[in-house]
Amino acid sequence: MPKVKFNTLESTCVPLPFENVDTDQIIPARFLSATSREGFGDNLFRDWRYKKTGEKNSEFVLNNPKFSGKVLVAGKNFGSGSSREHAVWAIFDYGFRAVVSSFFADIFMNNALNNGLLPIVIPEELQIKLQDLIQKNPAIKVKIDLEKQTFTIVSTGDSVRFEINPYKKECLLKGLDDIDFLLSMKNLITDYES
C-alpha cells in the first residue's frame, strides 16, 4: 500500500525547547484506548495544552497564535519512554510533517520514519540557536530537502546535512511501504524457517 511521501518542505516552526520530552507527554496513556490511527492530534501534549480545569493553557506554545508551522523543533532526547506509535500519529495528525532535535530516542525515530514524519537530527548548538531565533521571530522559515539531506534556516543561511538510512530515505521519497517489501520476500523467509 502506498505510504505518505516526503520530498521537500519549507515552513515556519513551533519551538519546544524542553529536554527529555517523553511519549507520555506527547500523548498520555489515558488516550490510548482507540482502535484506529486517527484523531490523536486533539490530545497531542494534552496535559501541557490544557489546564486541570479543561481550559486551554495560554502559556503553552501550541496555544500561542504567534507560533505555527509544519516543523516541530524539540529539545534533546525527544520521544523517550514508551514505544507507543500513537505519539507519532498524534504529532502527524496535528499537522506536523517533520520534527527537528539534537537527539531522538530510538523507538520514536523508527516509528516516525514508518509514518512519513521526518525526524531530523541537527547539532545541539544549531538546535539551541534555532529555538532562540524562532522565539525572536516566529516568522522565520526552515527548508528541508530530503533528496539532498539538507536542513537550512532560510533567513540566516545556516545549513547542515542530516543523516538518514538510505533505505528509509528511498521509502519516504517514493512512498514505498515496508510491509509490501517484506511480503515480496516471503520465499526467502520460508527458506530461512526451514
Binding site: N20, D24, P28, A29, L32, D47, S80, D106, Y167, I179
Partner: protein, 463 residues
C-alpha cells in the same frame, strides 16, 4: 573466526537478508501482543486482505487497561472494554493463543511470557511495548516496537531493523543489605542518564549480575529502555537453566550463548555493586535518581546552572534543589508492574511489612503481575501477611504504572512506586512519582514517609 558478542551471535543467526545500506530483515521467534498497541496492526492486515503469517509464534494477553478489582464484571470504561474485546476478536479470527482477562494464566505480558516458558535463551522477541527488554534476562534479544512493526511481524514474522551498537555494563562485587536489583539499574541510569545508552544494545555482566535470581535479572533488563537502550541481555547460566528446568531444555546449546572472551563492544562501563545504596527518584525521568539518604542535586549539569528542564521537573514534583527526601510525606504506595510484579518482589515487600501495620496516611495498590503470582502469594502465606498488615491484594494488570485503568494517583499526591517511569502524569494527571525498590516502597508504606529500608531489615542475609 571473528570473536562475537552474545548479541551478535543471536542477531546474525536471525538475519534473513541484509539490505545494502539499509536495515536487516530480522526473523522473530516470539511475538507478544496486548490490547493497546495491536488493534491498528490487525486493521492494517484487514485492509491488505492478508492473514497472520505464523499465528503460532504470537502470544496475546490483556493487561494495560484492565481493572484490578472485580475482573469478573464487565469493564466499565467503554473504550477500554472495546479494546479488550477487539483483541479477543482478532485472536479468535487469526488463531492466536490469548491469555485474556479472566483466563487462569492472565497477567502482564512481560511477567507471563517467562512464567509460561514462552521466553527462551537465544530467541529474538518483540512486542509493541518498550519494556519487552525484560525478556533479555534469559539471554534473548528482546526489544519494544511500534504498531507499524507489529503489523510487519504479524504479516511476515520479520521486522526491518538497523543493527544497534553494543555496550557492556559490568557490575562486580557484593550488594549491601537492603539493596536490590532495582537499585542497581536505577543507580546505573542515574549515572548515565535517560539517554545514556540510546543506540545501543546492552549486555550486563559481572559477579553482582551473576548472583541475581531470574526475577531480579528481569528487573534490570526491564529498565534498559529507561537509559535509552534498545534492549539489555544477560548470558544464560545455571540460574537460567534452573528456572527453565521443567521444559525440555537444550541446555548444551544454550551454554554456547556467551560473548567470546575477546569480543569487542562499542562502549564499556563498569560499576562497583558495594557502592550502591537503596535508590529513589526525585524528578520526572528515571535518570533523576539518587541514594535514599542523599540530597537533590543543585543542577543537572557541570556548570552548576540548573537548566529550565531541570527546574520545571522539580517544580512539578514540588521539590527544591538541595533538598533531602528522607522523611518526606508519601500518600500512595504502588507495588507491581512488569518491573517489580513478580513473586520475589512480593516476598521482599512482605519481609518488611510482616508484623507491622500500614501507615494510616497511605493508600496502597498491591497488584500482582499475573494470576500465577497471585496464586503463589496465597500458597506461600504472603496474602495473609499483607492482610494482617492492612493491605489489600488486587487482581493482576499493569494498573497504576501507566494508569490507563481506574488505578490513578490523584494530582499533587506523592506515590512511592515500584514501576519504571516517573514521567509527568504517568500515574495520573498531576501525580508525583518516586520510583524505588519493593523494599523502599514497603518502608514508605509502614512509616507513611520516604524511609530507608535498611532500618527495617533484620536478617543478615540479603532479601
Amino acid at each position: 573466526m571473528e570473536a562475537k558478542t552474545l548479541f551478535d551471535k543471536i542477531w546474525d543467526g536471525h538475519v534473513v537478508r541484509s539490505i545494502e545500506n539499509g536495515p536487516d530483515v530480522l526473523y522473530i521467534d516470539r511475538h507478544y501482543i496486548h490490547e493497546v498497541t495491536s488493534p491498528q496492526a490487525f486493521n492494517g492486515l484487514k485492509e491488505r486482505g492478508i492473514p497472520v503469517f505464523r499465528p503460532g509464534k504470537t502470544i496475546a494477553t490483556a493487561d494495560h487497561n484492565i481493572p484490578t478489582k472485580d475482573q469478573h464484571l464487565q469493564i466499565r470504561d467503554e473504550l477500554s472494554r472495546n479494546q479488550v474485546e477487539k483483541l479477543s476478536e482478532n485472536c479468535r479470527k487469526h488463531g492466536i493463543e490469548l491469555f485474556g482477562l479472566n483466563h487462569p494464566k492472565n497477567g502482564i505480558v512481560h511477567v507471563i511470557g517467562p512464567e509460561l516458558g514462552y521466553t527462551l535463551p537465544g530467541m529474538t522477541i518483540v512486542c509493541g511495548d518498550s519494556h519487552t527488554s525484560t525478556h533479555g534476562a534469559f539471554g534473548a534479544i528482546a526489544f519494544g516496537i511500534g504498531t507499524s512493526e507489529v503489523e510487519m511481524v504479524l504479516a511476515t514474522q520479520c521486522i526491518l531493523q538497523p543493527k544497534p551498537k553494543k555496550m557492556r555494563i559490568t557490575v562486580n562485587g557484593n550488594l549491601q543489605k537492603g539493596v536490590t536489583s532495582k537499585d542497581i539499574i536505577m543507580y546505573i541510569i542515574s549515572e548515565i542518564s535517560t539517554s545514556g545508552a540510546t543506540g545501543y544494545f546492552v549486555e550486563y555482566c559481572g559477579s553482582a549480575i551473576r548472583s541475581l535470581s531470574m526475577e531480579a535479572r528481569m528487573t534490570i533488563c526491564n529498565m534498559s529502555i529507561e537509559m535509552g537502550a534498545r534492549g539489555g541481555l544477560i548470558a544464560p547460566d545455571e540460574t537460567t537453566f534452573d528456572y527453565l528446568k521443567n521444559l525440555e531444555s537444550p541446555v548444551n546449546e544454550w551454554k554456547k550463548l556467551q560473548s567470546d572472551p575477546d569480543a569487542t563492544f562499542d562502549r564499556e562501563l563498569e560499576f562497583e555493586a558495594g557502592l550502591i545504596k537503596p535508590m529513589i527518584t526525585y524528578g520526572t525521568n528515571p535518570g533523576m535518581g539518587m541514594a535514599i539518604d542523599g540530597s537533590i542535586p543543585l543542577s543537572d549539569n557541570k556548570k552548576n546552572e540548573a537548566s529550565s528542564s531541570f527546574l520545571k521537573s522539580l517544580d512539578y514534583m514540588g521539590f527544591e534543589p538541595g533538598m533531602k527526601l528522607l522523611g518526606h510525606p508519601v500518600d500512595y504506595v504502588f507495588l507491581g508492574s512488569c518491573t517489580n510484579g513478580r513473586i520475589e518482589d512480593f516476598r521482599e515487600f512482605a519481609h518488611i511489612i510482616k508484623g507491622r501495620k500500614k501507615a494510616a496516611n497511605i493508600t496502597a495498590l498491591i497488584v500482582p503481575g499475573s494470576k500465577k503470582v497471585e496464586e503463589q502469594m496465597v500458597a506461600e502465606g504472603l496474602t495473609e501477611i499483607y492482610k494482617n498488615a492492612g493491605f489489600e491484594v488486587r487482581q493482576p494488570g499493569c494498573s497504576s504504572c501507566l494508569a490507563m485503568n481506574e488505578d490513578k494517583i490523584p494530582a499533587g499526591k506523592y506515590a512511592v512506586s515500584t514501576s519504571n517511569r516517573n514521567f509527568e502524569g504517568r500515574q495520573g494527571p498531576g501525580a508525583r512519582t518516586l520510583l524505588a525498590s519493593p523494599l523502599t516502597a514497603a518502608a514508605a508504606a509502614i512509616t507513611g514517609k520516604v524511609s530507608d529500608p535498611r532500618e527495617f531489615i533484620t536478617q543478615e542475609k540479603n532479601v
